[in-house]
Symmetry: C2
Subunit: 300 residues, 2 copies
């Protein structure tokens, strides 16, 4: 199954990075782009992101072998309905959403007669919009593909091959397991970061100006992901509610235990916990999922 024409719907950080990576690494593939916002379409044209930018969603997918919806997960159903009239019968429809079970349902409902294979490239930065994307965003990162039971094997292979061609490593799992894994590795961290940045900015005893000045003590690390796109993340938490609440419950139990250890002056428990967490970072660096340079490689 050859992928010769690709359409990317939604040209923000992820969508524009797919378009750039495809243009850079797959010169034989024609890339068409569409975005619901006329301003974004105009910016994408100026940036030369795609071979063509279509104003109409249905027109953007005409003749495409692969259509990737790169919109917030709360907008997947509408985006799918909007492209439906233009789809080839054998087109593969995929997405990049951070939660998969809800998206799989929404797309299957909107496109009952098409091949839908949800996917999620685990990559990004805190920036948003078409100018924030770059061609190397997916290099060495994992893309998780979550095909339903009825997904044709050749279509799954074609989609996986496309992501590998963009530089990603591909894993396949079911949507429910994806949602639990990502609740831990991405959604809970974002929720915690959003919470603490909000907490710090609203204390009476410490001014916001002090929080900013002394942020190099650790706080600034949390502000990066708390600067991520608000609409995208609103939708993620609403779509993956159950898994997020379950992992949050575990986090709360652990936090209460450490809180008690501090209150009781139980230094041995604290030191033991802090020693175990050190090993995880070493593994992440060894597996190429973070920079080995101290302080994330920040310039000093």
């Amino acid at each position: 199954m050859a992928i010769e024409r690709v359409t990317v719907v939604g040209l923000g950080l992820i969508g524009s990075s797919i378009a750039r990576a495809a243009k850079a690494r797959l010169p034989q593939v024609t890339v068409t782009g569409h975005d619901a916002s006329a301003d974004v379409r105009e910016e994408a044209r100026t940036l030369g992101l795609c071979d063509t930018i279509a104003d109409d969603p249905a027109a953007s997918v005409l003749g495409s072998d692969l259509v990737i919806l790169a919109v917030p997960v709360g907008r997947m159903a509408d985006a799918a309905a909007a492209i439906a009239p233009g789809l080839k019968p054998d087109a593969i429809i995929s997405d990049v959403g951070s939660s998969k079970a809800g998206v799989a349902d929404a797309l299957a409902k909107a496109l009952p007669d098409h091949v839908v294979i949800p996917a999620h490239p685990v990559a990004g930065t805190e920036n948003s919009g078409p100018a924030a994307g770059f061609a190397t965003l997916f290099e060495g990162r994992w893309c998780i593909v979550t095909p339903g039971a009825s997904a044709p094997a050749d279509a799954v292979a074609a989609l996986s091959g496309f992501w590998e061609a963009l530089g990603a490593k591909v894993d396949t799992m079911d949507a429910a397991h994806h949602d639990m894994v990502l609740a831990v590795t991405s959604h809970l961290p974002h929720l915690i970061a959003y919470t603490i940045v909000g907490t710090a900015s609203e204390l009476e005893e410490v001014t916001e100006s002090e929080v900013i000045k002394y942020s190099a003590g650790g706080f600034r690390d949390f502000t990066r992901i708390a600067a991520s796109d608000p609409v995208m993340w609103r939708d993620v938490f609403l779509a993956n509610k159950d898994a997020v609440l379950e992992t949050l419950q575990r986090f709360n139990e652990d936090l209460t235990a450490l809180q008690q250890a501090i209150r009781r002056g139980d230094g041995a428990k604290l030191e033991d916990w802090f020693t175990r967490t050190r090993a995880i970072r070493r593994s992440i660096i060894e597996q190429g999922q973070d920079d080995a340079a101290p302080d994330f490689g920040r310039r000093h």
Copy 2:
């Protein structure tokens, strides 16, 4: 008040960075080092960190105008007692501890007849030990000096001048306020990071290997500060217990509110919160306290 001889007691990340920065920027100053560990002293000699490395703590401070204790805050009292016999009557004794009220008490008790001026350079990396330090660690970072009411103004000015000479910007505040500010900007972030890294590594539904593979979704940001020195951080939480527990209480209230918003599907509340937190990062970058490059400047 001229500072011509400096002793650094404790040659880990911060102590060795002070020695390196002083050697690089203050060629007229003689730097003596001491560490309670013979292995660390040997490593410091091999690295050429100081003009002299003394095996005995009291001998290390003979003739020194400024002595900086760069040991975990739980060891300040012992370190102060060990240097006391060698101190010049008019020597300034300072430290680099992350909590200040408890350290001020401990040092005042151990050295009742000396000039004690606690300080805290808000800088660091996740790495530990003499080899982890570097001369530019303090450039553009804040050093908070917390003189007691009886501290001589010329000694405060001399200590502040020393830190400015190492490239830091200096602020002065009282110890109790410092401890509240740092509870928010540093201690709570570390506690949260330590918690979530522990939580993620002990879930039954998601393997540690999956947590590591997909950590680029946000989790890896927390692993950096959760890889910080376990003994140093054990001591910080025990020493700054009250302020940490108070800010943790605020964090828990906010987290509960966001948890409720997720459970109830209140997207407007989530989006509003996530939009406000975005502005803080912009201010931190504008004020030079973090890298403007996306993703902390990690290589892609």
